[in-house]
């Protein structure tokens, strides 16, 4: 019964999004049924539909979990976008500097590396870098809030721009192959490549980019569940989010929890790099994120900030992301931008849901530090 109640509001939000989205499609001059069939139907085919859906779901699971962990501590991490960019560049940097000889864009073997580490060392190092750098970039707004009371919403927005500009600078001026017209780094060494699912799942061709990172995403769901509900740290984070004053009375250092929650949040966002850099492009590519960081907010809200919910809503949004391509190709008037409209309506409905429930969990926190 409790689980059913948890499901009902997200379902209302999704239904509302499709009804309002359907009206929008109708006004534009398309048949909503046709458009929604394109949007959802394309995800069900095997191997392409399912393969690409899982590929798109991977970053959304990471960013959804990232936003959810911060939410549980009473903070809104709008900075996942910046965290994942900074982490992606750092991960690529490790893959470049410790990866040995690679074939550059002109097909010539070149080495940009200091040394060549074996895959068994390089891969874990690169993955660790994604987590640690994401965590560090995420901890900054946590620290700014704990130390100075600076609101995390504003600082994360600012740090997004700063982080994205910095990695774009490093890419453009230091890590781009001479003569490469695309804003991308030189490739990472082969030792840092993560295998694609196609290399061991039958019937899944290797051209489909879904890779081991998807399994990492599933593990991250389990990790977040255990961390939040089975450890002392998680308990203290949730206590801080539920009622910071009471938590402080209970002997919990609220400031420490804020930094910890934002670091874990940033680390999860940083794991997007595992999928993107190590499993898909094998280089840093400027502007790669399809707003994964911001979609994480919708994913977390719709998933009720619970790992199971995050997994389910990440899959839903992945279906829509994939379906958007088909809407662009086959719908007469509607474009893939309908996905953003649906996403926004979902967020609005979930946000206004507090009214129906009478719960104002997050508002208590906003009293202490302001935008």
């Amino acid at each position: 019964m409790r689980h059913l109640r948890e499901l009902i509001f997200p379902l209302i939000a999704v239904a509302a999004a499709f009804v309002i989205g359907g009206i929008v499609v109708l006004v534009i001059g398309d048949n909503p049924i046709t458009v929604f069939r394109l949007l959802v139907g394309s995800a069900l085919s095997y191997p392409d539909g399912i393969g690409y859906t899982l590929f798109y779901a991977t970053p959304l699971i990471f960013t959804g979990l990232a936003v959810a962990v911060a939410f549980r501590c009473g903070m809104l991490n709008i900075g996942a976008e910046g965290q994942l960019y900074v982490a992606a560049f750092a991960t690529a940097w490790v893959g470049i500097k410790f990866g040995g000889t690679v074939v550059d864009i002109f097909g010539t073997p070149t080495s940009y590396a200091w040394v060549k580490l074996p895959a068994i060392v390089l891969l874990p190092l690169a993955i660790l870098t994604a987590v640690v750098v994401g965590a560090a970039w995420g901890a900054i707004p946590g620290w700014l809030k704990a130390r100075f009371g600076a609101h995390e919403v504003i600082t994360t927005i600012m740090l997004n721009f700063i982080g994205i500009a910095l990695v774009s600078y490093f890419t453009q001026y230091h890590y781009k192959a001479a003569g490469d017209p695309i804003m991308q780094s030189v490739p990472i060494g082969a030792g840092a490549h993560l295998p694609r699912l196609g290399s061991f799942v039958s019937g899944m061709p290797e051209r489909i980019p879904v890779n081991i990172a998807f399994l990492f995403a599933l593990l991250a769901c389990v990790f977040v569940y255990i961390f939040l509900w089975k450890t002392k740290w998680g308990y203290e984070i949730r206590a801080t989010g539920a009622n910071p004053q009471a938590a402080e009375y209970g002997g919990i250092s609220v400031r420490k929890q804020m930094v910890l929650a934002m670091a874990v949040s940033g680390g999860l966002a940083g794991m997007v790099a595992i999928n993107e850099v190590l499993g898909y492009r094998y280089r840093y590519y400027d502007g790669f994120s399809a707003n994964y960081g911001f979609m994480g907010i919708a994913v977390a809200l719709l998933g009720r900030n619970h790992p199971v919910g995050v997994l389910l809503s990440a899959l839903l949004f992945a279906v829509l992301l994939r379906g958007g391509i088909f809407v662009d190709a086959f719908a007469v008037h509607t474009t893939k931008d309908i996905v953003e409209v649906l996403q926004a309506i979902v967020i609005l409905f979930v946000a206004a849901e507090a009214l129906f429930r009478g719960t104002f969990g997050r508002f208590g926190l906003l009293k202490r530090s302001k935008v």
Partner: protein
Amino acid sequence: MRGASNIFIIFLASTIRLSTPLLLAALGGLFSERSGVINIALEGLMLAGAFTAAAVTHYAGSPFVGLAAAIGAGIVVASIHAVACIRFRADQVVTGTAINILMTGVPALLSGAFFLSSGATPQIPQAQLIPYTPVVLAFALVGVSWYVLYRTPFGLRLRAVGENPEAADAAGVSVSRMRYSGVLISGALAAIGGAYISIGQSSLFTRNMTAGRGFIALAALIFGKWKPVSTMLACLLFGFADALQIQLQGVPIRGIEIPNQFIQIIPYVLTIVVLAGFIGQSRAPRALGIPYQKEK
């Protein structure tokens, strides 16, 4: 040499031009936030204005009709934010984020449907672009905003509901009416700022064309400590950084090329520095972000 004064004038003009959309959006944000409603939706409101202005000017042939329509669109979109935040007491930051996402989608969707393009409106002829009107308006509005906020009963009430809604309510001020006014004004002003970008500085709307200016306006508002004149100075500073970045692009100074990314991040770094209290304190309106529930 054409003379240093010439360069100075060109630079000054460019700074003022680039500050204008920031200033309009920031003044809008000022009204919303002084009434107690966080407005990170400025970016989305600017996009609404930019798209509507370009699309309507294309059909109507007059930039002033386009500007009027943009103001209408800004108010409509802002009312979504207002109703969710005030009537439904939704989280203001979450709602603002939703508006921003909505407004990257809707203009692109509509231009795809009406103009069969991927998120852009058709080019508007030079003669139909808006002249310097929004620039004059923006700087005039600094004085007007100051007067309204500090010298009129409306301004007093607006600030009162942002600082202490319970007391304002007890004194007979309608908290929700004041907050609706604040948010809707922010929609109108941010939309004018967006319109100036599409039919003033440019000659068409392109997808996401405001490129984060709504967030820089928000930064200017915080940097300006939620005060009209200081906010204007912050906008001029950020506009100057923007002008500098354009001037310095690919131009080496004494053999060293300054990467434009370093200039781009100036407003964001300054905002964090100010928020952390390194340069003076920036104090938000006390009731900012807290939904008000009238006691029964």
